[in-house]
Amino acid sequence: MLYHVQIEITLKPTVMDAQGTTIEKALHKMGHASVDNVRIGKFVTLEIEAKCPDCAKSAAEEMCRELLANPIIEQYHVAVVESEAVA
């Protein structure tokens, strides 16, 4: 099966996110006074051939550990969003 995978990568909560802080300040200046905890990250989408949704997820998680994220400073979330039969 072909699976569509969405991966969110953000800095860990313990790692200071200078971009997030700067954008938060800009949002406050625009009048969005109640905005808090702005974090900036990366969004990766990919398609993968796998036997099951969990197989696709664990393959994507392996990719995150090895390349897509740096586990020292980043955390990731993998979602298998959709699957379709390959013709």
Partner: protein
């Protein structure tokens, strides 16, 4: 003895490193294209600064998977010398040859200026020509040089004396004001536990001639050459 300067797609300090090594040490040096895997002829590998693979994903993240890096890992495991400068330091942390990570400067700007550094380790093959706590000046040129490690790793680094260079002011004071990028503990450069792998964000290769602003970087390359020469003699005696 022979030096090698690795060239990744996007490296841009490779020629500066080559020039510094050739003119300062008078030793053999050759470029190592990132697809090479035979580097057995080399005593010291330099990973230069630049923007390998366009800094795509994270600085150094893709360069780490270049064919040459397998050979660099073996080279380091054999106790041979590796220096990573700027982007080269980022590649070494991504490859796990040095602990921690380097990410976006706290002020988000690209920092490009001369920077004072305090010598924290002067017993390494790379640094034995400097004196302890000496204040030197190397240029900085990076947007993502903020050193981070988790508290346990940081404590270990400090305990093992793996911090080699620290950002400081002209008098050698290590203060938040003298920290150009928000690095933890003002860390500018570290080594591995074995002391044969060195990574630093500032550029020693750009401070090897007084004509271009100073020669503090000379001692690093000269000191290393001297260490290699002694090693070669001791190998010959065995």
């Amino acid at each position: 003895m022979k030096f090698g300067v690795v060239v990744f797609p996007g490296s841009n300090c490779d020629a500066d490193c080559y020039y510094a090594i050739e003119h300062v040490t008078g030793q053999d040096v050759r470029y190592v294209w990132h697809e090479e895997t035979e580097i057995g002829d080399l005593d010291c590998i330099v990973l230069p600064g630049g923007f390998s693979y366009g800094d795509y994903l994270r600085c150094g993240a893709v360069a780490r998977f270049s064919p040459v890096m397998g050979a660099v890992m073996t080279h380091a495991a054999e106790g041979k010398f590796v220096i990573g400068i700027c982007n080269g330091f980022q590649v070494l942390t991504e490859a796990g040859l040095l602990p921690g990570a380097l990410y976006r400067n706290d002020h988000l700007k690209f920092v490009c200026k001369p920077q004072h550094l305090r010598m924290e380790r002067t017993d390494l093959p790379f640094t034995h020509f400097y004196s302890s706590r000496q204040v030197i000046e190397f240029p900085l040129a990076h947007g993502e040089g903020r050193y981070y490690a988790d508290p346990e790793t940081l404590q270990q680094l400090e305990q093992n004396g793996q911090v080699v260079f620290r950002y400081c002011d002209a008098e050698g004071n290590v203060t938040p004001d003298a920290n150009p990028n928000g690095s933890l503990n003002n860390i500018a450069g570290i080594c591995n536990e074995g002391g044969n792998v060195l990574g630093l964000m500032p550029h020693p290769e750009r401070r090897c001639e007084s004509l271009i602003g100073g020669s503090d970087g000379k001692k690093l390359f000269k000191g290393l050459t001297e260490s290699l020469r002694v090693l070669e003699i001791s190998r010959g005696l065995r």
